[in-house]
């Protein structure tokens, strides 16, 4: 119940929408402002000053009380103005494994000539150090968020806040960023060796395209590579020892297969698969990934690894989602 009330309340909050250019510009109706504890203290001291001056009919006391009150009022508007028109753009860094920390980069831009002071970016309880953005320039604020669950995580609401100029008021707004973090499943510590290519009924029929002498690319020489694979021409050109990779030449292809694992917990299975992908890709053989309902064909290289990891990250709710481009 409490959760739903909170949810409903949060839906009521106005958020700064992201424009077509991917930048959220803080508008007039999305800024919230409330006095801080310092502000309340300031207010109560002013109240005492006002009552005292009125009672003693002391005009100079009143004059100064009104001066401080006016400064407070003006400061409130300055706090508001400090956020107004600020351009915020959030970008997530490269994907991470669950349990690691994802770095979010927030680009704050003061459009126009007005400088912005004391801008703080906050996400939940994490706060970045306040920055000053001179007029017409931008500043990059980055802070780490914990990646807790695998999948495509939206950063969702960021809070941009300021206490400028006297910390009497806190003005803030919620920025609904469209930045997402791709979180791979946390790799298990150990995983059983994946199945090497044997006569499997479900194995797609190898024919045509992926011939034995498909040139896949080059990689640096590793201990144990056959001298026949070494690109001697490259060596003669003083490029060092480079090994030519051919599709069929690695001997066995590897299939990493969901159904081969016996672990009942699907998340645990995914993390075992992740470990297998990492292990196999390190050994440099061609591999493919089979998940219920989807298959990633045999291939090699960093891009392939990423695609496999992405499949794992988005598994279960990825049926309708196309792969993000990298």
């Amino acid at each position: 119940m409490a959760v739903s009330v909170r949810q409903r309340f949060e839906n009521l909050l106005r958020r700064v929408p992201v424009g077509v250019d991917g930048v959220a510009r803080v508008g007039t109706r999305q800024i919230y402002i409330l006095p801080t504890r310092t502000g309340l203290m300031f207010g109560s001291v002013l109240l005492v000053m006002l009552l005292g001056s009125l009672n003693y009919q002391n005009n100079l006391g009143l004059l100064f009380t009104f001066f401080f009150a006016s400064v407070g009022l003006i400061a409130m508007h300055h706090a508001w103005f400090n956020l107004l028109g600020l351009a915020v753009q959030a970008r997530s860094g490269s994907p991470v494994f669950a349990g690691e920390t994802v770095t979010v980069e927030i680009r704050l831009r003061a459009e126009g000539r007005r400088a912005r002071h004391d801008i703080q970016v906050r996400k939940d309880q994490r706060t970045a150090l306040p920055v000053h953005v001179p007029g017409g320039t931008q500043r990059l604020v980055s802070f780490g968020l914990p990646a807790t669950r695998r999948g495509l995580q939206r950063i969702a609401d960021l809070t941009i806040e300021t206490h400028h100029p006297m910390q009497l008021f806190r003005a803030w707004c919620y920025v609904a960023t469209d930045a997402t973090i791709l979180v791979y499943p946390a790799p298990a510590r150990h995983a059983p060796d994946p199945v090497h290519d044997a006569g499997d009924a479900r194995r797609p029929n190898r024919s045509g395209g992926e011939g034995a002498d498909d040139y896949l690319g080059s990689r640096n020489y590793r201990h144990g590579d056959s001298p026949r694979q070494i690109d001697w021409k490259a060596f003669a050109r003083e490029r060092g020892l480079v090994v030519k990779q051919f599709g069929g030449d690695q001997g066995q292809d590897v299939w990493i297969d969901w159904s081969r694992l016996a672990t009942p917990d699907p998340e645990r299975r995914l993390s075992l698969l992740t470990r297998q992908v990492l292990d196999v890709s390190a050994s440099g053989v061609r591999f493919g990934l089979r998940l219920p309902g989807t298959t990633e064909g045999l291939s090699q290289g960093a891009t392939h690894v990423q695609r496999c990891l992405t499949r794992l990250a988005l598994f279960d709710h990825a049926q309708t989602t196309t792969l993000p481009r990298h």
């Binding site: 310092t38 009125l54 009672n55 100064f64 006016s70 003006i74 400088a115 004391d118 801008i119």
Partner: protein, 668 residues
């Protein structure tokens, strides 16, 4: 909304902020030292010294237990010095002590903020003691300082911390000024205090007292303070008519004149009557605080202001003691005839002390033998003072047991009190009812402000005698001895008590003339201050409402205040919204560069970049190649690089100074 998490990195104050705050509190509290007990000041000094040492050596700052002890000691100190912790003096001492103690406990920025905010309170408290314009200006600067400190405590202003902090603080303060003004004028005032004021009424009762003891003081302290200001509706009367009436003294005990303990007979004398009067003149007085109920008016007041009355002695009395400057309007008649007093009052005015000497009686008997009427006898008396070798001096010798006798026959030098006292006694001996009137004589014209000033040093005493058929008649024996005393020779004031009284302004040097006009200017400023700021009251607000036609509207003031404040705020906000601010110097220079070329017939096209434009100019006008390429060589890297260095800006500006291309046609 959400609770703020602690930010330990930004929340600990740095030493500079602590120093700035300590100095701010010190500077703000400094003017108050004049009014605090010396023990309080000593304790404050101790705390400040500890604070300043603590900046260098953290060990010097006392720990929590010691601070508790210091707090107790400070409270005890206040209690010992003022015998109370409340009221104006007691409360102020306690507050200042606690604020100074707080300086020893500045662990977080919150502490600093609280202290900076309380500095505002320290400012306001001081106006209970002193409301002068210079102090206000000084404390205004302190207020801006407190704002600046709060701005710095928030931080986040980027580089050039001091400069940007000051800029933000000053712009905040300037923007706050119109709002302050609107609030000040329109915020509804109280007409009566909410709670007892507890003002210390014994302070500052310089000036007039309600008794007179000639010869007790051997030196009249010439008090250079202002008594009141007068603005006449029409031409001011001549200065020898300016007798400002104050308390009336009836009873003489041989040394000392006092109002006497006359109880009024219930014969309606409570409503004093002038049987006849002519030439009433109207004027307005702004009286400096006296803490007494006396209001001064010209002889004789005809109408009293609403909150005052005229007593049987024709003295104007306010219902409330005048604790702050008071403005009132009076009408007085310069020519008048008072009604005959009752027989009992007449008897009062003939009371004699028991130290009347035979030679005094002899003197009066001698006059009586030469006079055929009471009035002729009065003239005899005045002639006596004029004829004999009486001296007017502000430094009279001290008189002994029988001051009147000693003065009349031995010392023969003194000032108004001596003359008035002895004259009144002599008249009473002769059987003519006489009484003493205290007040002020004369006024100094302030041409700059268009009003008259009456100083404490204009204090005067004169005599009223009762003449059959004429009522009470004013007689000024001092004028008989020294007519210059009633001339407006106010230059004496500049010179202090010890200087000769017969100082003529005509002989004054240009310097003293200059000093005098400076003083007049200062007083005009002071009067304006008094009039427009210190005296501004609920009455003025209602007058303002009336003028605006909102007088009948009950909440007119509040509504008007809300309107005015919102209007002022929106004007300020619109100004802020315009996002004006001067263009970047680099852009300004480039704009000027393009302007000059446009004037020479080479306007830049909308779509043209600076580099393309330059190349086109050089193609079209090869004679400008050197100048244009030199400019662009500096401008382009500055434009498209990072921040331009100030040196580059200066160089570019220098180049533009000599860059005045002529139109191509004239060249050809």
């Amino acid at each position: 909304m959400r609770k703020q998490p602690l930010c330990p990195v930004t929340e600990s104050p740095d030493a500079k902020q602590v120093l700035a705050l300590s100095l701010l509190v010190l500077a703000t509290g400094l003017p108050l030292v004049r009014y605090l007990h010396w023990q309080i000041n000593a304790f404050l000094l101790l705390l400040f010294v500890v604070r300043l040492f603590g900046l260098r050596w953290r060990m010097a700052i006392p720990g929590a237990w010691l601070r508790v002890l210091l707090t107790l000691a400070g409270t005890a100190n206040c209690l010992y010095a003022n015998h109370t912790l409340v009221g104006q003096d007691g409360g102020t001492a306690l507050f200042v002590t606690m604020l100074a103690l707080k300086l020893l406990e500045l662990n977080t920025r919150r502490d600093l903020r609280l202290t900076a905010i309380l500095t505002g309170f320290l400012i306001v408290i001081q106006f209970l003691f002193d409301q002068s314009l210079p102090l206000t200006i000084y404390l205004g600067a302190m207020a801006v300082g407190a704002v600046a400190l709060l701005v710095d405590l928030n931080g986040g202003l980027g580089d050039a911390r001091l400069r940007s902090t000051l800029r933000v603080a000053v712009s905040l303060s300037l923007q706050a000024l119109p709002l302050t003004l609107a609030l000040f004028v329109l915020f509804p005032r109280l007409t009566t205090p909410l709670w007892s004021l507890g003002l210390d009424s014994e302070q500052g009762t310089l000036g007039m007292s309600d008794s007179m003891e000639p010869g007790a003081i051997s030196e009249l302290v010439v008090n250079g303070e202002l008594a009141f200001r007068v603005r006449f509706d029409s031409t001011p009367p001549h200065s020898d008519q300016l007798y400002w009436r104050g308390p009336v003294l009836w009873e003489m005990d041989g040394r000392r004149w006092s109002p006497g303990s006359v109880t009024l007979p219930a014969d309606g004398a409570d409503n004093p009557k002038l049987e006849q009067f002519a030439n009433p003149i109207a004027y307005e007085i702004v009286l400096e605080p006296t803490h007494k109920t006396w209001l001064f008016a010209l002889d004789m007041p005809v109408t009293a202001p609403d909150d005052a009355s005229i007593n049987r002695d024709f003295q104007l009395l306010s219902r409330q003691p005048v604790n702050s400057a008071k403005r009132y309007r009076v009408r007085s008649a310069l020519d008048y005839r008072t009604a005959e007093p009752s027989a009992s009052l007449r008897q009062q005015a003939l009371q004699l002390p028991d130290n009347i000497t035979p030679r005094m009686r002899g003197l009066v008997a001698d006059w009586r033998s030469h006079a055929d009427s009471d009035w002729a006898l009065v003239q005899q008396g005045l002639a006596f003072f004029n004829r004999e070798s009486f001296h007017y001096t502000l430094l009279p010798p001290k008189l002994g047991k029988n001051p009147a006798d000693e003065f009349l026959f031995e010392t023969r030098s003194g000032f108004c009190e001596h003359y008035a006292s002895s004259f009144a006694l002599l008249m009473r001996i002769a059987g003519i009812p006489a009484r003493i009137v205290l007040g002020y004589l004369g006024a100094e014209t302030n041409r700059i402000g268009g009003y008259q000033m009456v100083w404490q040093s204009d204090a005067h005493a004169w005599v009223e005698v009762l003449i059959a058929g004429r009522g009470w008649v004013r007689v000024d024996p001092t004028a008989a001895v020294d007519p210059s005393r009633i001339d407006n020779r106010s230059a004496t004031r500049l010179l202090g008590a010890a200087s000769p009284v017969r100082f003529s302004l005509d002989q004054a040097s240009a310097v003293s003339q200059f000093v005098r006009s400076l003083r007049l200017l200062a007083d005009t400023l002071d009067a304006t201050w008094q009039n427009w700021v210190l005296d501004f009251s609920a009455a003025d607000q209602f007058a303002l409402l009336d003028r605006l036609g909102l007088g009948d509207f009950e909440y007119g003031l509040a509504v008007l205040m809300v309107l005015a404040v919102s209007l002022t705020l929106s004007v300020i906000l619109l100004a802020l919204m315009r996002d004006r601010s001067t263009p970047e110097p680099l852009d300004a220079l480039y704009a000027r560069f393009c302007q000059r070329l446009a004037a020479a017939g080479l306007p830049r096209r909308e779509t043209e970049g600076s580099s393309d434009f330059g190349h086109r100019v050089m193609r079209q006008r090869p004679d400008l190649t050197a100048a244009v390429s030199r400019f662009l060589a500096l401008y382009l890297p500055a434009r498209f690089g990072s921040h331009p260095r100030p040196a580059t800006i200066r160089l570019l500006a220098l180049q533009l100074l000599g860059f005045h291309p002529k139109s191509a046609k004239r060249n050809a």
